[in-house]
Amino acid sequence: MKKFLALLILSTLLAASAPAFPATSRLFTAKEIKKNNETIYEIGFRLLNANKIDKRMTFSYSTKDNVNASTSHINRNIIIYDGLIQYISTEDELAAVLAHEISHAVDSYNGIFRGYLEFVPHIFIPRKYERKADQRAVDYMVNAGYNPVALIVIMNKAFPQYRYEVLGTHPLTSRRMAMIYEYIYTKYPAFLVNNPYQNNVYYQNFLLNSEHNRKKFAQKVKTGSKKKIRYDY
């Protein structure tokens, strides 16, 4: 009986001290990822398999300090740079970055000449494709068992906030996060109700800085409107 009680107390203490992330999300440091790039490949291929993506692509790590990840339209190699790795602390966050890039790589297979000229519309309206990649990233993460809220977390943590997006290749980070929030709310609301990132300092900051945009979305939910929201700076 004493042993049983001791075990019960021990297990309760262990459960209480568990990190505030879901069981699927391993915690790791930039050093660990750099030491073992296998983590990047494993997560990348898990995303491909779980999403039944039958297009080939590869993953690699670069020591450059860009806070970025990129996809080569020529050979469909997805590169994650050391500068961005420094910001990543969970498996969900790494999956978020890779899932976004996978969407670009899938798009590179569309169109004539095996997608050779697919980069042309990306030059004209790049932000449209970034929005699509953000949304697809959410889907890919959910199908592979990752928490899509991590996409907001990594964006708020690592991506800067420019003043205008007219000449930019990406929408403003504040708008991207609001759009992702809306997408998760609409398609996968369970992740916002059972949100292990609720008390995460970066997610808390998102709740703080996105209040105005979330109010706009709340209005849309209230009225049942299907109109696209123009989120604020």
Binding site: G111, R131, N143, T186, A190, V193, L208
Partner: protein, 215 residues
């Protein structure tokens, strides 16, 4: 010996060399010395929208596709046609459900598992409208399901893109630029929409053992 004496001299006079500390007399004379700054407590922001509109509802967590068996490449072709026209130019939004109709009886192991004209649902996973500079619209439809078949046994995805006019708009805009910037006029040329008419046939697969759930 001289060095040691010099060091001892330095040590003795160091406090004098360091100078006197400047005291804040105003604070000492006018404020209560027992006052202490409050410790920082992180404010927890709550998501009121989620609390108001989602909390308490029965929202099942999506089941990930982690139990797959790609060695199983057998599948029975399921031919479908849309019940109504599917278009990216219409009112379709992400997450909307679209309906299809089975065009012929689907037989597996000598048994009809899906009858002709039975209904199959699918989800619009992503819809991206057409845009300026001839940039095409695109649509992704997946998660096919039927009421009479177990979950995740219908396997397929529709991933289509409209007519990509940017391939000729791009050179045209460059060609027209020297003529008083007329190339900017190409801004208004839009790309094609994706239209799937009820006459078109779409093929997906019935794969009873490829994906497993509830493990």
């Amino acid at each position: 010996m001289i060095i040691r004496l010099f060091l001892a001299f330095l040590l003795l006079t160091s406090s004098a060399l360091a100078g006197e500390l400047i005291r804040d007399e105003l604070v000492e004379t006018t404020l209560d010395s027992s006052l202490k700054p409050k410790p920082y407590v992180q404010k927890v922001y709550k998501d009121k929208l989620v609390e108001k509109t989602l909390l308490g509802k029965n929202l099942p967590m999506p089941v990930p596709n982690l139990h797959y068996n790609y060695a199983d490449s057998d599948g029975v072709v399921v031919k479908l046609r849309p019940k109504t026209k599917i278009s990216t130019g219409g009112k379709l939004r992400d997450g909307d459900v679209v309906k299809f109709v089975v065009t012929q009886n689907i037989v597996h192991n000598g048994r009809v598992i899906l009858e002709k004209n039975s209904e199959v649902s699918a989800v619009v996973e992503n819809i991206s409208p057409n845009d300026r500079y001839g940039v095409p619209a695109s649509i992704v439809i997946s998660r096919f399901s039927s009421e009479v078949l177990p979950d995740k046994t219908l396997d397929g995805e529709i991933n289509l893109q409209g007519k990509n006019n940017s391939l000729w708009v791009y050179p045209l805009s460059y060609f027209l630029m020297p003529f008083f910037g007329a190339g900017f006029g190409t801004t208004f040329i839009r790309g094609g929409n994706v239209n799937i008419s009820p006459d078109e046939t779409i093929e997906i697969y019935y794969r009873p053992t490829r994906f497993r759930t509830g493990l």
